[in-house]
Amino acid sequence: MDDSKFWPKGTTRCKPVHFGLWMLFCLALAGWALVSAFLCLYKGLNQTNMNDYFAFGVWIVVDLAIIALGAGAFFTGFMNYVLRREELKNIINAAVIIGFICYSGAIMMLGIDIGQPIRGWFGFWHANVHSMLTEVMFCITTYLIVLIVEFVPLILENRQINKVPDLHFFAHNLHTIMIVFAATGTFLSFFHQGSLGGMYGVLYARPFAARGGVLIWPWTFFLFILSAIAAGPSFTTSIVMITEIVTGKKLTTHKVKMLMAKVSGSLLLFYLVLKIADTLYWAFVQTPAMGLSPSVYYQAPYGTWLLIAELGIGGVLPCILLLSPQVRESYWILLLAMLLNCFGVTMNRFVMTIQSLAVPVLPFEKFYAYLPTWQEWGISAGVIAYGFIIFSLAYRYLPVFPQETKLNPTTD
């Protein structure tokens, strides 16, 4: 079974049997997810460990994390098309694919997470415009459409599909006006990344999550955007680097990676300054005003190590690394710094979801901990498997990396 004629021009891919094995592994993960999804849909959400205190569980954490990490798509697109940083052209395709994976994966997970998926469209039909979640639902679905529109031309550039004239021209024309979609995507992403943060900031009756703000947007609105665009490029670049390690090929010049790292690092710095200011204000001014002390927030097992992990290991450390030129020159330490950056934003999403629900508000309530069931892990793993499958297929059959042929001169 030789699929070489589908490979992008001038590139070599691993033998189909290796690719088949890899696909089998991913499909096994996806199978586990399907079983979990069936159980949750058929028997109901009692299959999870969520309850009336933990209305949100690991699914929402993963949703928020992959949408934050998927921000690489819109921000790279924004820099490439709107800010005319042309060298990002070599990584924009990967960014778009990762963005598409994250958003479509998140929406599928939300489909299972809500109690009545069949009534999901009520959020659009009977919209409550004052709710941050409505804004999230509107923007995420619209931005997914934008991502699909950005992903389609890449698919149509597969060597065989490109032969069909209609599709060839359609892909080309879409590409010429891509700036329109990139700009709309940026506008939409700005709002829903913010609204995901706003979702927690507006909970004025939940002291841990509540924040002051400007007009209708709590500070978490802006903090979530900043942390997303700080982590997005890192996530995209680290995925590309991991693909390079796995396939043994150089996919983009190191210059592109250094640029992404530099952007990521500076945004991370900007975010950390604001985040630490917000945390200090929240811990020493806002919380006492509500009659609570930070020690109430940090109880076993969600102790202060979470703060250190989020802002220290996941924040300050990668920021320093990404901003120092020697690190950006290196390969492995750069990869490590970017992964730490992603780890930081994931911890932030975890803390804002799980810990804010664990903290009791009524003085006579108890502090509860939460541990997902295998079904919940199954569906989270399913999204990751879905990502592997889509990215592997895209890498194998679509011309994702323009510089690949030049960087890996084939012998014949």
């Binding site: 109901g44 959400l45 009692n46 969520m50 309850n51 009336d52 205190y53 209305a55 949100f56 997470d113 809500i114 109690g115 009545q116 998926p117 009534r119 999901g120 009520f122 959020g123 039909w125 009977h126 919209a127 409550n128 004052h130 709710s131 941050m132 979640l133 409505t134 639902m137 979702m199 507006v202 909970l203 004025y204 009756a205 939940r206 002291p207 006492p288 005003a289 509500m290 009659g291 609570l292 002390s293 109430v296 629900l357 508000v361 009524l362 003085p363 006579f364 309530e365 509860y368």
Partner: protein
């Protein structure tokens, strides 16, 4: 909080010193509103009791230990200082809404998509999600009331201040012509309480008992500092009970936050 003549604000005054935690209010509420029972109800944070009776104690060692009870229905918050009712403002599908005419927060299970954002937003844990499809074994569906629709799985439900009794009182008023009196619309828990600890009525109406009771110096509300402006007042002559209603820093004195809309 301004209240025009036509605007009613139904609320409760619960005397904690009369409540002995017997649970009659909780059971009467579940029987009145067709709340189901799962085979295993020991997981208390998944058990649906619209009115949950919390047990609190003064933390003193033997022999000065004292316990008391907070029956906690939905507080039907009005929200204040620019904030809406905590749960109503967050629902994406407008499945829950606060009726300005009666001050009651409604919950429509047939529109709820089960995203549970309102459950996370409510600081009083007064909202419950149907994690299970409630089993109705042979005979258990007979004592169901036709005036409240039983809920399906995957939706949120909460105390409605027995609004179906307001609807029936409204029907009676329409056909008989007289206006609705205080005693025409009473909740199931108010009627059930053997110690008469719960009083229900229109907080804005001077003739209703609650209008006076909420003015007692011993009256307080849960989590007053969050400015949720709740409709359920609690009364207790014991200072340690009043102190359990809100979060205080160790040194803070109780008088700092006064009940009865002193914000």
């Amino acid at each position: 909080m301004s209240s025009s003549a036509s605007e009613m604000r139904f609320g409760m005054v619960i005397d904690v010193d009369k409540c002995t935690g017997c649970g009659a209010c909780s059971v009467a509420c579940m029987s009145e509103n067709n709340v189901g029972v799962l085979p295993d109800e020991t997981d208390k944070i998944r058990s649906i009791t619209w009115l949950r009776v919390y047990q609190i104690d003064n933390g003193q060692p033997y022999p000065n230990t004292q316990i008391a009870f907070f029956p906690r229905p939905c507080q039907h918050c009005a929200g204040s200082q620019g904030h809406h009712t905590p749960c109503v403002s967050v629902c994406p599908a407008t499945a829950t809404d606060r009726d300005p005419k009666t001050g009651i927060v409604s919950q429509i299970p047939t529109r709820c998509i089960g995203c549970r954002y309102c459950v996370a937003a409510c600081p009083y844990h007064a909202r419950y999600f149907n994690w299970y499809d409630v089993p109705w074994p042979e005979g258990m569906d007979k004592p169901l009331s036709p005036f409240v629709a039983p809920r399906m799985r995957g939706v949120v439900e909460k105390c409605t201040f027995c609004f179906h009794r307001y609807q029936r009182a409204q029907n009676k008023a329409f056909t008989s012509g007289e206006a609705m009196g205080e005693m025409d619309y009473q909740t199931a828990c108010t009627e059930a309480c053997p110690s008469g600890a719960i009083t229900f009525g229109d907080l804005n109406n001077p003739e209703h008992k609650v209008h006076e009771l909420k003015k007692s110096p011993y009256a307080f509300r849960l989590l007053e500092r969050l400015h949720t402006d709740t409709a359920v007042y609690y009364v207790s002559a014991r200072e340690w009970v009043r102190r359990q209603a809100d979060n205080y820093l160790s040194g803070e004195k109780l008088a700092k936050v006064q009940a009865g809309g002193g914000h």
